[in-house]
């Protein structure tokens, strides 16, 4: 019998702090056995999302954030800072630990396996997407999607953002990219090493089109069926708790 996963489109596009609270509430609930394996799609309006180990002061250009109305939130996973806007699609996969797709705690394997559905979805749209270790999906050497993840709370968790039609000019302004990182990749700016789905296809497609393609990509890649569901009331109250105690505090978001 084909396995069924829950499909959520729960989002708070103008409240990145609530979005991130829900992002944590889901894997916690899946690990507790209170929620089924879940795939969530969501959007943020202009927001920098920092990796959990990053220094806000080093990574964020606060002046540019002020000018562009960009907010800053920290996620609970490692990896690098990313810029979200309405043209960026986020997805998150939470599987109960021990799931045969990702049987052990190998984070590199988690990224590779759980990027496959996204790669498949992007390819079905005509994007020549390839997984590029450690945690990128690239098209001809340019990053179109980055992932992060963890194994905690009894859950294997993987999330990523896909540049569908993001404003790359703002992205290049609000993030400070350290010189050594650019030098290593032999490219001059952050803008030149990223691309969008829309630029690759020269077609005016929406994040919804990409979301639908990835739903099918996930179903095909993992032989599962995604069934639309709701966030449970206990997940929502956990998210509200996390909002007050963590994600809506400058202590969590900025102090590292």
């Amino acid at each position: 019998m084909t396995e069924t996963w829950r499909l959520l489109d729960t989002e708070y596009p103008d409240d990145p702090f609530m979005n991130m609270s829900v992002e944590e509430a889901i894997p916690r609930s899946v690990g507790e056995g209170e929620a089924p394996n879940t795939v969530r799609f969501w959007h943020n309006s202009n927001t920098i999302v920092l990796g959990c180990f990053q220094s806000a002061d080093l990574e964020v250009n606060y002046d540019a954030c002020k000018e562009t109305g960009t907010q800053v939130v920290r996620r609970f996973t490692g990896g690098g800072a990313v810029y979200h806007d309405a043209g960026n699609l986020n997805y998150a996969i939470s599987l109960k630990k021990g799931h045969p797709l990702v049987p052990d705690n190998d984070l590199q394997l988690v990224f590779q396996r759980l990027s496959e559905g996204t790669v498949e979805g992007l390819r079905s749209l005509g994007v020549r997407a390839e997984f590029q270790p450690i945690n990128d999906i690239q098209v001809d050497g340019r990053k179109v999607s980055g992932a992060a993840g963890s194994v905690r709370w009894g859950t294997v968790f993987h999330h990523g953002c896909i540049l569908v039609a993001s404003d790359l000019a703002i992205l290049g302004r609000v993030l400070n990219v350290p010189g050594v990182k650019l030098a290593d990749r032999h490219v001059a700016s952050v803008q030149k090493r990223v691309t969008t789905v829309r630029d690759e296809l020269q077609k005016d497609l929406t994040t919804r089109d990409v979301r639908d393609a990835i739903v099918r990509g996930i179903e095909r890649s993992y032989n599962v069926r995604l069934v639309e569901g709701q966030l449970s009331s206990s997940e929502l109250s956990l998210a509200k708790e996390l909002y007050d105690s963590k994600y809506n505090t400058s202590q969590w978001n900025l102090e590292r």
Partner: protein, 97 residues
């Protein structure tokens, strides 16, 4: 000798960034802050490493043993950075990496 603030940005070969900020006095670490775009699980273990670095000498051998003890003791898993990268990154703060 007074306390000096040292910092470095270290890019692991083929991997991620380690950004080190250290307060150093008489060749010893008073406090250390490690940030960057690497992966480390469990995530909470990083503050343990920072704590372990306090009072350590800025010396390759001592730091090597300490970082090794951290990874063995916590069973932490790094991705994009190796134990050796942590040592090199911290040492590179001596010269401003």
């Amino acid at each position: 000798m007074s306390t000096k603030a040292l910092s470095s940005d270290y890019k692991a070969p083929g991997g991620k960034m380690l950004r080190i900020r250290i307060r150093e006095k008489d060749g010893r670490i008073e406090s250390a802050k490690i940030s960057g775009d690497f992966f480390l699980i469990p995530e909470e273990s990083l503050s343990k490493l920072e704590k372990m670095l306090e009072d350590a000498r800025l010396d390759e051998k001592e730091l090597g043993l300490l970082v090794d003890r951290f990874f063995r003791g916590t069973k932490a898993q790094g991705l994009g950075v190796s134990p050796d990268d942590f040592v090199k990154a911290i040492l590179s703060a001596r010269t401003g990496g």
